[in-house]
Subunit: 107 residues, 2 copies
DNA sequence: ATTTGATATTGCAATATTACGATGATATAT
DNA sequence: ATATATCATCGTAATATTGCAATATCAAAT
């Protein structure tokens, strides 16, 4: 085994799990927080800020990119990206919905 | 490697990542949603509801328990647990804080 | 055209996760 | 006491994740 049985779960559950998975690493939390606090698009400096090797940062960025949290240009040297705020708000809403939907009558 | 370099990150980042990790599996999302919607504490039926084997469900429940999301008795047959609502609210607040803290002046 | 500066990709080793069968433990019913 | 029902633990196989060195790529400057 080792692979999740995604097919037995609903799309909603799989989607939220996928988002959570991206957030399930302190480096990616740190990267997201750093980018989200910038005034402008980011150029490099993440390797210095986070403290992991360049290939590792690159991989983490890719995971973040996969769920649509980054926007900008990713071409060669003119790369310049920042948080996709629309997507950011969507994720926030997903978590909000999940946590809001609780039966307060229990216990 | 294979292990996260948790020591180079802040407690806050590690904590949020740990919580996200628990939510990073559709089975655990489904389990949490199911329990959180119940009127009463849960007794069994999770194996039927989710569709994974009993040992697997047991493992997932343990992960959820580790971050304090369940309360109740876990002794033999008198087991009876439900969502720890205080903790639930804490986690909700953690995600809310993370997503709220974004610089809207960028792009 | 070559160098430079920066990110991406590949390949690999170490570790973690997911899943389940077999087994163990524990409480209740018979 | 024995059987039954239910959850926990162990052991193991399959797969995924993390991290980095080496290397490739790519755009701009020289």
């Amino acid at each position: 085994m080792g692979a999740s049985k995604t097919h037995i779960f609903s799309t909603t559950h799989n989607e939220l799990a996928k988002i959570a998975k991206v957030m399930a690493h302190p480096a990616r939390i740190a990267i997201l927080e750093y980018i989200s606090k910038q005034d402008n698009c980011i150029c490099n400096d993440l390797v210095d800020v986070i403290g992991l090797s360049q290939p590792t940062i690159s991989q983490h960025l890719n995971e973040i990119k996969k769920i649509g949290l980054l926007k900008g240009t990713f071409e060669g040297k003119n790369l310049c990206y920042c948080i996709n705020q629309e997507r950011w708000d969507e994720l926030q809403e997903s978590f909000h919905l999940f946590f809001s939907n609780i039966n307060r009558n229990c216990c």
